[in-house]
């Protein structure tokens, strides 16, 4: 085996190489969950190799290299083949090539991609099987064979066409592992499957790469938890939000009341938008561009009727939820009196809860005038009285999280969130609604909420996210 520069304790390295514009950067971007990688249809976007290490507490588990595409493969191969050497010396010729042309701009791209390989990186050769196989690729594959490094091929599908069979036949001659991989639609399972293939490249790397699978699973779990925590906090902050507006006249005018209500709504909108941004950061989509004109989600205001009908409960569902919640409270009273109340408590609770919810379907919260006897008068609104609001906000945030979490890091197109009218049915059932209502009731109460309550609410949201994503 060739003696490359790597030491016995070096972490595994993988160089993603190939023809220009075949999706190398997309693959690296999706494997490294990094949407900052420059991806374009212009060849030569990547001019320098770039390292993407998977580090765990500062220790590198493995390292991925994004590299420029081959530009003068035939010339490089011609130079290599000009040296008549046995197979065990071929890697030395490649090293000599690097040494000779290190400062020659003509071979900049080849040097950049060969360097990590000659430093011990395994080869991940990327092709686009949506386009036909061509003989021009053979020079590239032959060069890679000269390096003597373990290698695998990844078949990417950039476009609609499918030439996988012919590609597989050709790649089979050069690579012991050939896998298909769609960086635009990657799930954790696919990610893990590729890592498992990478682990097979070299025996010494197996443990390291397999341990990275566990870390990735943990990493995804952390993202789920952080998202659930952010959503739970947003719902709690919004429902318990109290806003005030001072006024000096004898009586608060309608304009002042309206202003307070608008301020209150704006603060709620702000909580939602900042949580959305937070979710995007959690899932490493910091550079996400959203279509603001076409995007129904952005256009669909938090307080619009459309939003309420898509994400909120129907009047009937709300009535049942409120009545059940009221009945539970009433049943508590019945229980205290060992049923001597003839269970009137439960029945009354259900009626009061149901009627309250029915008539407060569109109301946000009552505006109160406070501080009248102490000189400083002010209006106060909140906590949120509308029982439907937490479901609307929750639905919107869960929907946004689902879209973000499922979005590949390789995508650079503007995000267009297709509205799904059946989305609510996907995540909200009767049992969950009842559980959620018990938390929303606490949030509305104006009491400080115990950490454990919020954690339990988070756990509930986490379950929903796992179900959807």
């Amino acid at each position: 085996m060739p003696e490359h520069k790597e030491s016995a304790f070096d972490h595994p390295k993988f160089a993603v190489v190939g023809h220009p514009n075949k999706g190398k950067s997309s693959i690296v971007s999706s494997l490294a969950l990094d949407d900052s990688v420059q991806i374009s249809d212009t060849p030569g976007t990547t001019t320098k190799k770039r390292s993407f290490p998977l580090t765990v507490d500062g220790k590198i588990i493995y390292e991925l290299f994004d590299t420029p595409g081959f530009q003068r493969a035939r010339k490089v191969l011609a130079w290599l083949e000009g040296h008549d050497v046995s197979a065990d010396k071929k890697y030395e010729v490649v090293q000599e090539f690097i040494h000779t042309f290190k400062n020659d701009p003509k071979f900049n791209d080849e040097i950049e991609l060969l360097e990590p390989i000659m430093e011990g990186a395994g080869i991940i050769y990327v092709v686009d099987a949506s386009k036909p196989y061509g003989e021009e690729y053979e020079a590239e594959m032959e060069i890679l064979r000269w390096t003597g490094q373990p290698s695998m091929a990844l078949i990417n599908h950039i476009d609609e066409g499918d030439y996988t069979a012919e590609w597989k036949r050709a790649l089979g001659h050069y690579f012991k592992i050939v896998r298909t991989y769609d960086p635009m639609n990657i799930s954790l399972a696919q990610h893990i499957s590729i890592l498992e293939s990478m682990a097979q490249l070299k025996e010494e790397w197996t443990d390291s790469v397999k341990s990275s699978i566990l870390f990735f699973e943990q990493y995804y779990e952390e993202m789920f938890q952080e998202s659930a925590a952010a959503i739970a906090k947003a719902v709690f902050d919004s429902v318990s939000l109290i806003d005030t507006l001072a006024f000096t006249s004898e009586k608060a005018s309608d304009v002042e009341k309206k202003r307070l209500e608008e301020n209150y709504k704006n603060r709620l909108r702000m909580i939602e938008s900042s949580t959305q941004k937070q979710i995007e950061i959690i899932w490493h989509h910091e550079n996400l561009e959203k279509d603001k004109t076409q995007l129904a989600f952005e256009e669909l205001d938090l307080f619009s009727e459309e939003s309420a009908s898509l994400f909120g409960l129907t009047r009937k569902e709300l009535l049942i939820t409120a009545a059940t919640s009221g009945a539970i409270t009433g049943a508590g009273i019945d229980l205290m009196f060992a049923g001597h109340t003839l269970f009137i408590g439960g029945a009354l609770g259900a009626v009061v809860g149901g009627v309250g919810a029915y008539f407060a379907f569109n109301e946000l919260s009552e505006i109160k005038v406070l501080g009248q006897t102490l000189g400083k008068r002010y209006l106060e609104i909140g906590p949120m009285a509308n029982r439907n609001f937490p479901y609307i906000l929750l639905g919107r945030l869960i929907y946004h999280t689902e879209q973000i979490a499922k979005r590949s890091h390789a995508k650079r197109s503007v995000a267009e969130f297709e509205m799904d009218s059946k989305f609510k049915e996907k995540w909200l059932d009767d049992a969950l609604r009842k559980s959620l209502e018990s938390y929303h009731k606490k949030f509305r109460s104006g009491k400080a909420i115990d950490e454990k309550v919020l954690l339990a609410y988070e756990a509930l949201i986490n379950t929903v996210l796992h179900k959807l994503i």
Partner: protein
């Protein structure tokens, strides 16, 4: 754990710009704190606060609260002394009615302590209806009383400061206990001073029909805490009988005067009642409120914005997949390549195909209705020598087919440059796949246009579709 720790953490989290790595390093270097999140947060705040601008919010607010509490405590102490003196003042004619004093040192503390206990149970309620009793409201009032200089100092910092209502409630409860304790000490001092400096005739009197036995029973009940240890501090039935006086009788009856020494014995009971109800029980309330505040602060640590993230960053393994370097921005320029044709001529001197074999070239020529006497393949599986040979055969106008979907490499550009030395004109024609009937996509042709633009050679022409040509004309217009 005190308010200062909470405020320190609040300020640290507000201005925190530590990296995930720094947080994790801290977590790993303090493994003993991992099981105690509050201590861990506190330790982090203690370290990070050194980087903050002085004075810290905690220093300003703690110092302010300290002085406000001290001044108020002094005032309530004085009030206690004055009240005590008032209650025990004896003009030499009318005896001092012990019921007033008992009410002040026993019943008032019991009522206020009950209210304090009730507020402790309701401390978690952030208020809405009881806004006037809200600690937040009183904090606002107190801040409003601050001198302008201090207000300016706090301005901007307090406007954003949101202390957990739980802490605010417990702060008020604890401070109420301190003030009540100061008042009790005032009463105690007044009692001792009055007893030491004056000869007071104590008596008891009430409009209600209370028999001395019943009153004695009440006093004995009140003395439950010390009657077994200090029986002399519990008034006897005899003393109670002898010290009762009536509004319509003599101011000081003969019996009372004859037992003047005995009437003075009341002070022992009053002293113990003050000590037990006003001081000791209040002190217990103070301890409870201190513990309550500490617990509230500990609970509030976890509700501070960013504290959970900080804990998770410190205790969860730090996994990073991102690039170690920042990539330079690549801007893909839109160029208008002007040397374009939208239809082929009928014939060319030669047809070349970049990685397209001659047989296929002939088929493509037929499809494009182009006549070219010679068709050659370049690039692809050709050797460099074979390419040179092809170039040596080239002359005149050359139609050069390329695979539109394969972006132009430098290998192609090198060949093209050599070709241009021999040819008069080269038409680069990006074609689509066989399945696409050799029709190229506009997107792919644009990639070729951008590359050819860099060559800047008047001999090189690009074949585009008619639709693309029309679009280009419209844009130019």
């Amino acid at each position: 754990m005190n308010l200062a720790s909470y405020l320190d953490l609040y300020e640290v989290l507000e201005s925190d710009n530590s990296t995930r790595n720094e947080r994790r390093t801290f977590g790993l270097s303090h493994p003993e704190l991992k099981e105690d999140p509050v201590e861990q947060l506190s330790a982090w705040a203690n370290r990070e606060k050194l980087k903050l601008k002085r004075p810290l919010l905690s220093e300003t607010l703690s110092s302010y609260l300290y002085w406000v509490t001290l001044i108020l405590s002094f005032l309530t102490f004085v009030l206690g002394v004055v009240s005590g003196i008032g209650l025990l003042s004896y003009n030499g004619h009318e005896p001092v009615n012990v019921i007033y004093f008992i009410a002040m040192v026993v019943f008032v503390p019991l009522v206020t302590m009950s209210l304090a206990l009730l507020s402790m149970f309701r401390a978690s309620r952030s208020q809405s209806m009881l806004i006037h009793l809200s600690p937040a409201f009183w904090m606002e009032r107190i801040v409003a009383l601050l001198p302008n200089k201090v207000k300016d100092q706090l301005k901007g910092r307090f406007s954003e400061l949101k202390i957990n209502p739980l802490i605010l409630n417990w702060l008020v409860i604890k401070r109420s206990q301190i003030l009540a304790l100061a008042f009790s000490f005032g009463l105690l001092l007044a009692l001792l001073a009055m007893v030491a400096t004056r000869d007071i005739a104590f008596a008891w009197s009430t409009t209600l029909s209370v028999t001395p036995e019943a009153f004695h029973h009440l006093l004995e009940t009140l003395s439950f805490a010390w009657r077994d240890f200090f029986p002399w501090a519990v008034p006897s039935v005899e003393l109670v009988e002898q010290s009762q006086y009536y509004r319509l009788g003599e101011k000081l009856g003969d019996t009372m005067i004859s037992h003047a020494a005995l009437l003075g014995e009341w002070w022992k009971f009053l002293l113990f009642a003050t000590l037990f109800y006003a001081v000791i029980l209040r002190f217990v309330m103070y301890i409870i409120s201190t513990i309550g505040l500490k617990k509230a602060i500990e609970r509030s640590f976890m509700t501070l914005e960013g504290s959970k993230k900080l804990l998770s960053d410190m205790n969860e393994v730090n996994i990073s997949t991102h690039a170690s370097t920042i990539e330079n921005n690549f801007s893909s320029k839109t160029v208008a390549y002007t040397q374009v044709i939208d239809r082929f001529d009928q014939s060319y001197d030669m047809a070349l195909g970049w990685a397209i074999d001659p047989d296929k070239l002939k088929l493509i020529n037929e499809r494009m209705q182009v006549i070219a006497p010679n068709c050659y393949e370049a690039g692809g599986a050709n050797s460099l020598e074979e390419d040179s040979e092809v170039i040596s055969k080239c002359h005149g106008e050359i139609l050069f087919y390329v695979k539109a979907w394969e972006p132009p490499t430098m290998d192609f550009m090198d060949f093209l440059e050599s070709l241009l030395e021999k040819a008069d004109k080269v038409i680069v024609a990006p074609i689509g796949t066989e399945q696409q009937a050799y029709v190229s996509k506009e997107r792919d042709v644009n990639v070729w246009a951008r590359k050819l633009f860099t060559l800047n050679n008047e001999k090189v022409w690009l074949k585009i579709s008619s639709a693309q040509a029309l679009k280009g004309e419209a844009e130019n217009a």
